[in-house]
Subunit: 342 residues, 2 copies
C-alpha cells in the first residue's frame, strides 16, 4: 500500500506538488550578507517595532507568509493546511503567527530541520489529496535563540570558534497543484543519529552524521549520485560540519563534488561578518530556500537540487543533564521544471 | 485535487487506516485512577529508575512503543514513519525516545493536542500511500511539566481551584492497512482560537473555544450531529472547560448530549484524588486513547467515536510577556468496524 515509496526511506510523489509561491525575510546580518538581494523583506530593527524579540519573530512569520501569498496572488483562505515551526520553547513564534491567520495548523519541531519537515508534510498533504493548497514556514531570531539556548544578549558572552550564528530569518513556501513552478518530486523523512557530541558550540559535528544518513538513504534508494544534482545543500552544518560531511561520504567512496554547499555558509560572508562557523537556526535554511534557492530554480539557473536541512535535537535542560546531542536531517528533491542554464 | 476533503475543514480517508496496535503507560496517580485497568504499564516510581524526570519520560515513551509493537506482533523496523510530541522544551522526551529506535521521525508540537495531530499525520501517511506502517505517540510527565511551566516540584506550590493535573502518561497507536481493528475514517486539522485568557491556571477556558471550532467544523462539513457518535471526547478541557464547551454548543442550539466526556475528567477520580479541574498534559488524552478508548472500541462497546484533544499553545515566556493563551483542537473519527453493543 505504500505505493509512493522507493527503497526503505524515500518517498516519490506521484503528482509532485508545485511550489506556487515563496518568500524570505531577514534581519540586519542577513541584509549585510551575500544573499541580501534574494530576500523579500529585510528589517534591521531586531524588535521590528514590537515590544519583545519573541513578538518580533512572530511578526516576521506573519510578514513572510503575507509576502508569499501576495507574490502568488493568493488569498490566505486558499490555504487549507499550514505546517510550521521555530526554535522557541513550545514553538510559540509559529503558534502566535498562526493565531493571526486562524488557518488549520500543524505545529512541527525538528529544530533547524523544521522547514524540510514542514515541506515534506505539506507536499504529502497535496500529493495525497488531503489539501489543495498548503504552506510550510519556519523561522529563527538571533536574540530569542540566544536568550533561550545560551545566555541573554546583554551578557556579551564570547563565542567559541566552532559556534554558529542563529539567523534572524524566515522562509515560507506555498504548495499546490499548479502547472508551472518548481516541484517537489521526492522526500526523505530522516532518522535520528546521535554521534555522542556534548559540546553545544559544535552543532556541525552533531548534525553531519544525520545528514550523511539521510542523503545516503536517498542515493541508496534511488541509485542516484551527487552528479544527478545541480546543487546539494545541507541545512546549517556550518564550515566544520560541511567539511565533516564530505569526509563521511569519502569513506563511502562518494565524492560530494563541487556542487555541495551548506546554507549556513551561504547566508553570510563568514570572514567579513565574523560568523565563525557560519549561520544556523530554523530560519537559516528556510530563508535560503525561500529566497536564493527558489528564485534561481524559477529562473532556470539550476534544474534539480537536493535540499537537506539538519536539526540538532537538544534543549538547554538536556545539555545541563549531560545528554549528548541527537541530529536529524529531512531532505526533499526540488526540480525547476526547466532545462538548466549552466 | 483535494479529493479527500468534505467541506472546508474535514478530511475523509478513502482507505481508512487501521489501528493495528496500541498501548498506554501511566504513573502513580494514573494507577490510582478509575482507568487503571486499561493501562499496559503502570510505574509508581516517578523516576522509572532513571536519574532525571526528563529521562524517565523518554523511557516511558520507549516502553509504551515497545508494548504497542509487542501487542501487535510487529518489529520496530516495520514502522516507516513515526509522529510524536511532548510538552518539554524542544520536545526532547520524544526526540530522545526516537533516537533509541532510529526510525524516520517527524516531531510535532501542538501541546496536549499533539496526539491527535500525530494521528492525523500518521493516518494521512498511510492513506496517501507514503508509508505502510506508522506510529503516533505523545507523552507528558507531572514532574517535568511542573518544572518547566510552573515551579519545580520541591517548592510545594499551592494549586488554584481551576488548575489541572499534568498526567504522567504516554499513549501510542500503530497505524497500517490491516483488515481488522478500529479505523480512522475522518480527521479535522484544527484552527487556532484565542479567547483572550491570560490565567495559566484556567486552561479549560483557553481551549474550549478551539474545541468548539473544530467539532463545529466537523458537524458543518458532514451534516452530522452529536447523536451520530457513541462517544465524543475532548482532550483535557477539565471539568470547567467541559461545562464551557457544552454552553458554547447550546448557544448554537446543539446539545452535546450524554455521550460527551473529557479525557481530563475520565483519567482520575477528581474528588477522591483531589485533582481540582481534572487531568491534562499531552499524555492524558494519548493514554486514555491508547488504553480505555481503543480497548473498548476493539471489544465493540462503542461503534464510532469523535476524539478531539485540545492544546494550549503557551510557553512560560509568552505568559511572562503578558500574552494570551491560544488554543487548538485536532479531531479524528474512529470506527470500531463492529456493531455497537450498547
Amino acid at each position: 500500500m505504500s505505493s509512493k515509496r522507493i527503497g526503505r526511506d524515500t518517498v516519490r510523489f506521484t503528482h509532485p506538488p508545485t511550489i506556487l509561491s515563496f518568500a524570505a525575510s531577514g534581519g540586519k546580518m542577513e541584509a549585510e550578507g551575500p544573499l541580501s538581494r534574494y530576500f523579500d523583506l529585510l528589517e534591521t530593527d531586531s524588535f521590528r517595532g514590537e515590544k519583545t524579540w519573541e513578538a518580533a519573530e512572530t511578526a516576521m512569520q506573519i510578514q513572510t507568509m503575507e509576502a508569499a501569498l501576495k507574490k502568488g496572488r493568493l488569498a490566505f483562505e486558499s490555504l487549507s493546511l499550514v505546517f510550521g515551526g521555530d526554535l522557541l520553547n513550545q514553538c510559540t513564534a509559529t503558534s502566535f503567527a498562526m493565531r493571526h491567520w486562524g488557518l488549520p495548523f500543524c505545529g512541527v519541531y525538528n529544530a533547524c530541520a523544521s522547514i524540510s519537515e514542514s515541506l515534506i508534510l505539506a507536499a504529502m498533504s497535496v500529493d495525497g489529496g488531503f489539501a489543495s493548497c498548503t504552506a510550510a514556514i519556519a523561522s529563527s531570531h538571533y536574540c530569542t535563540a540566544e536568550r533561550q539556548y545560551r545566555t541573554p544578549m546583554p551578557y556579551g558572552n564570547q563565542r567559541a570558534p566552532t559556534a554558529q550564528w542563529t539567523a534572524t530569518a524566515c522562509g515560507c513556501c506555498i504548495l499546490g497543484t499548479g502547472s508551472s513552478g518548481p516541484r517537489i518530486t521526492h522526500a526523505v523523512p530522516g532518522r535520528i543519529v546521535d554521534p555522542g557530541i556534548t559540546d553545544v558550540n559544535n552543532m556541525g559535528a552533531a548534525m553531519a552524521p544525520a545528514a550523511h544518513s539521510t542523503i545516503s538513504a536517498y542515493f541508496r534508494d534511488t541509485g542516484e549520485t551527487p552528479e544527478d544534482f545541480d546543487l546539494i545543500l545541507t541545512g546549517d552544518l556550518g564550515k566544520f560540519g560541511h567539511q565533516l560531511l564530505q569526509e563521511l561520504f569519502q569513506r563511502d567512496g562518494v565524492d560530494m563534488g563541487k556542487n555541495y554547499f551548506d546554507c549556513g555558509m551561504l547566508l553570510y560572508d563568514i570572514e567579513r561578518q565574523d560568523m565563525h562557523c557560519g549561520g544556523s537556526g530554523a530560519g537559516c535554511s528556510a530563508s535560503v530556500l525561500g529566497g536564493y534557492l527558489l528564485r534561481n530554480l524559477t529562473s532556470g539557473k539550476w534544474r534539480r537540487i537536493l535540499f537537506a536541512p539538519t536539526g540538532a535535537l537538544l534543549s538547554p535542560t538536556s545539555v545541563f543533564q549531560g545528554e549528548t546531542i541527537p541530529g536529524i536531517c529531512h531532505a526533499v528533491v526540488i526540480e525547476s521544471g526547466k532545462e538548466a542554464r549552466e
